[in-house]
Symmetry: C2
């Protein structure tokens, strides 16, 4: 099982083509849904008592263990954002932390011996609090966002020291490393703790750092990107989910896992919210990975 | 033999780390030098009578046929530019067309039956004039720049109609197609004539369009980019040079050719001006292509 923390949210997402309101979102939702195609996932998070039953059921139907999700008095985390016409620029209209304001993650007894962990976007203090409750952790991956680099850098760097894999985007990698060149940035981040670093570049794919090697991967070419929300967490779900399924973290398996991550990210952005992932089956994933492999073969 | 047109120039390039003055530059120089590792190249261009003998010799030593280069009264094309600290932004300080102001390309008798052509950056009128003199042309590739899209769009589109392969960067592809999404942009450009389109994305690699397929390729990961000048033409030299050597334009060979293009571009940017290409041997190229292949294999 992969234990993940991160947000369960209600998202209102406005693109120039359509607005979807108060749909299931959040880093833990995308990660868990995506990873559930490969492995069992346990979520440690919180929702308010307004959290719709249908969202709960959706995740449970995918075998996601929600016993670590606290239902707290108050409202679920709410995020309202708008995308620019080219879907490259996102503007936050409202961020209501609600139940996350005082959230402390609690790992249920049945999950305390788990070994593979994904720290989705949450405050570094909460990410750290999760780790403390997982004494047998063996492989920990984490993501973060600009906000925590700007506001909680010291705490964030403490968490980064403790993880095995850091997954972040190009802007975040440059901010955290102080290097513009992404190859230098990735190597500098490796030197701060994580032996594995993945720098995501959106439509330009990603770079995987392992040991002294840097593996570049293009994105899956897509003519229609509908909603970029959740691309990163769906990527992480494919990547970490595949690794957990193989229970192997060799360079070769890491590269395969990247391909699964890329494909899951591509499915996620092909429709609004979780709809891109909801309409696929396992066979679609293998087919798409095979297609991707053929495209970059020469 | 590949017949290429484009500029032979004297370049002054200022990076935050070093300035090189009046060194050999221009699209035809980079293309010819790069392609000469794979095939014979004939250049159709012009220089002034100030063009240093050593540049002439440098290209001839690589087997480049310069009988199509007119030595005209006046000065060689001169380009002075500065790069920003991160080497991503280039500012032109001076562009002196000099002998190119009234240049008309003339294909020497010995080259008039050649079949493979590269139209490097020049005015579309000149690119077209070259084609008229190559009645047996079978595969024509071309590049262009923003300047001609803005100032000679009509003439440019006429040339594009006649070519088999269009090689351009992401900004140019978006301008010419009116599409932000590069997959859509490439397909739209294919519909205007060229059955092959290559969209270069600098440090993010490129997209190859052939038939209904879109093949994405990452760049070769480089920790140190020294001088981005000539990256695109060196890429084109590797790509077209390899295709000419194989005399095959199937999807599989096109993909291999892209890898050679990517590697030649990476060598070019690893040092100032042509120095990155001057210090390599054929074996370095095969080694690097093999390394690239291994990096993206999964």
């Amino acid at each position: 099982m992969v234990i993940c923390t991160g947000s369960l949210a209600l998202d209102t997402t406005r693109t120039p083509f359509k607005t979807v309101e108060r749909v299931l979102g959040g880093s833990a939702s995308y990660f868990a849904y995506s990873a559930s195609f490969f492995t069992r996932v346990g979520v440690v998070s919180a929702v308010g008592n307004d959290f719709p039953k249908e969202h709960w059921k959706l995740l449970e139907k995918k075998g996601v263990n929600l016993s670590g999700v606290q239902v707290l008095d108050g409202k679920t985390f709410f995020f309202d954002s708008s995308f620019s016409y080219d879907l490259h620029k996102r503007t936050a209209n409202a961020t209501e932390l609600n139940v996350f304001a005082d959230f402390i993650p609690r790992v249920p007894v049945g999950m305390q011996n788990e070994e593979i962990v994904y720290l989705g976007t949450l405050s570094p203090v909460n990410q750290d609090a999760l780790l403390d409750q997982l004494p047998r952790r063996r492989m920990v991956f984490m993501d973060t966002i600009e906000y925590y680099i700007q506001n909680n850098e010291r705490e964030l760097r403490e968490v980064i020291k403790k993880v095995d894999g850091l997954i972040l985007n190009d802007v975040e990698a440059r901010m955290l490393s102080g290097e513009h060149n992404l190859v230098k940035a990735g190597r500098k981040l490796q030197a701060t703790g994580p032996k594995i670093v993945v720098i995501k570049k959106g439509e330009h794919g990603c770079l995987l750092f392992e040991g002294t090697s840097v593996y570049p991967f293009p994105a899956f070419p897509l003519e229609d990107v509908v909603d970029p929300t959740g691309a990163g967490d769906s990527f992480a779900g494919g990547f970490v989910g595949f690794l957990a399924k193989k229970n192997d973290f060799s360079p070769k398996t890491l590269r395969q896992a990247i391909a699964y991550g890329i494909v899951m990210g591509a499915f996620a952005v092909s429709d609004y919210a979780l709809d891109g992932l909801k309409k696929i089956k396992k066979a679609d994933i293998s087919r798409r990975v095979h297609e991707y492999k053929k495209l970059i073969e020469f």
